[in-house]
């Protein structure tokens, strides 16, 4: 791969990571003023802010790599649904609180494993973003894990909802561990992470928490894929509509 190809691949990769962080951050920010109680409301808002901050760092770096005048805001607000490359699990609607916390557990556990590897990237900026992110993600994981234990091993109603959330989400976890050609190339170059190699570690950790929470591991009989190729669920367009409308209505506005 030529230096120029490698740079373009790194830019595309950085945008994917930014999209994951932005879309999930925007999605979970919907819990602000809708949390089950005040402290939890504030906690979820803070987790959302960590993700949006992380998205800014990735997009800021993407702008630096692109060096074509586009800013971090342009990446966040001026790309369309088909240009976003986030994993589908991050865009799914927030559902009920149990659904959101189960999603958070699955994603936090993935991010813990992922960032732990990205810290070793040959790309100094990606490694620095990961080193910051991993510390925050450990806090996120502890919180989502405790919620899943409390809801799974809670009342009949909370357990039913947590199990339903898990069953509805499970088929979206497969694509997390299926790196495409670009991701494989970058992993070989020591820049990206080979997520296929994270799967067994992730499964073990998730299964341990689910077992403790008395939840049943779902059947592996369906999978939805497409986030990394730009084929999204119908929910992403609505999310982006809300996220991007101000910037698109007032081009160049700053805040």
């Amino acid at each position: 791969m030529s230096d120029e190809d490698l740079k373009q691949a790194t830019l595309d990769y950085t945008l994917r990571l930014g999209d994951d962080a932005l879309v999930l951050g925007q999605r979970i920010s919907e819990w602000v003023s809708n949390g089950p109680f005040l402290e939890e409301d504030i906690a979820y808002g803070n987790v959302a802010l960590d993700y949006i901050g992380r998205a800014r760092m990735y997009y800021g770096y993407a702008a630096e790599l692109a060096a074509d005048g586009r800013s971090e805001d342009d990446f966040a607000y001026l790309r369309s649904e088909r240009e976003f490359r986030n994993y589908l699990i991050n865009e799914l609607p927030r559902g009920d609180f149990a659904y959101s916390q189960v999603r958070q557990l699955l994603v936090d556990q993935f991010n813990t494993a992922f960032l732990d590897r990205l810290v070793e990237s040959r790309d100094a900026t990606l490694a620095a973003i990961a080193a910051k992110g991993i510390k925050e993600t450990r806090y996120h994981l502890r919180r989502s894990r405790e919620w899943v234990l409390r809801l799974g091993d809670g009342t009949a109603e909370s357990r039913r909802r947590a199990q339903k959330g898990l069953d509805d989400l499970w088929g979206y976890t497969h694509e997390l561990f299926e790196p495409d050609a670009l991701e494989q190339r970058l992993a070989k170059a020591g820049i990206g992470v080979d997520t296929a190699a994270l799967k067994s570690q992730w499964q073990q950790a998730v299964a341990a928490t689910l077992g403790e929470a008395t939840l049943n591991l779902p059947q592996e009989d369906w999978a939805v894929r497409g986030g990394r190729t730009g084929y999204h669920t119908e929910y992403l367009g609505h999310l982006l509509g809300e996220l991007q409308s101000i910037y698109r209505s007032y081009p160049g506005c700053r805040w």
């Binding site: 402290e39 802010l49 992380r54 080193a131 806090y139």
Partner: protein, 169 residues
């Protein structure tokens, strides 16, 4: 004093421009106004080459909303002191740690009603932090994420007051 703070302190003491560090002590964290950016560990370095001043800062948390205000306060303070050529750089590595907070900063936090970081474990303890109001160790964690991402919310079982804890990270 943590080793990390010791190294920050040494960088400041060996700087050829101590007056600039002193000036920047006027820049406070907008959410914790008892702390200067030096106390908090957000201020990494100050250098002067000719007329040009380069200030390096680092965010506490990825999504810390205070960074914009801190940048504009640095511009204002140095601008008022006559510095015309200023560059503010943001550094991400090494990642900010609560061990960078100055010992004075920890005292100021406690006086302000916030339990300072323990710098012992990675994550928040469930109980047992000293209450910054009455000193009792009979306390419990209510929420891992308090009023901002950098704080957890505790309650004292003796004086019944809730208080923030500045988390280890």
């Amino acid at each position: 004093m943590t080793r990390d703070f010791f190294e920050r302190q040494r960088r400041r003491e060996q700087s050829p421009v101590p007056e600039l560090w002193d000036l920047l002590d006027r820049v406070r964290d907008p959410e914790l106004p008892v702390l200067s950016i030096w106390d908090l560990g957000v201020l990494c370095d100050v250098k002067q080459t000719g007329e040009k001043v380069v200030v390096t800062i680092t965010p506490t948390y990825s999504g810390c909303p205070a960074m914009e205000t801190i940048r504009s306060d640095i511009e204002r303070v140095l601008g008022e002191a006559g510095m015309r050529r200023l560059e503010i750089r943001t550094r991400l590595a090494p990642a900010w740690s609560s061990t960078w907070i100055s010992p004075e900063g920890c005292d100021k936090l406690r006086d302000y009603g916030i339990a300072p970081p323990q710098n012992q474990s990675d994550l928040t303890p469930d109980a047992g932090l000293a209450c910054p109001r009455c000193g009792s160790a009979d306390t419990r964690c209510i929420s891992e994420f308090g009023s901002t991402a950098c704080k957890a919310l505790f309650q004292c079982n003796d004086c019944r007051e809730p208080f923030d804890y500045f988390k280890d990270i």
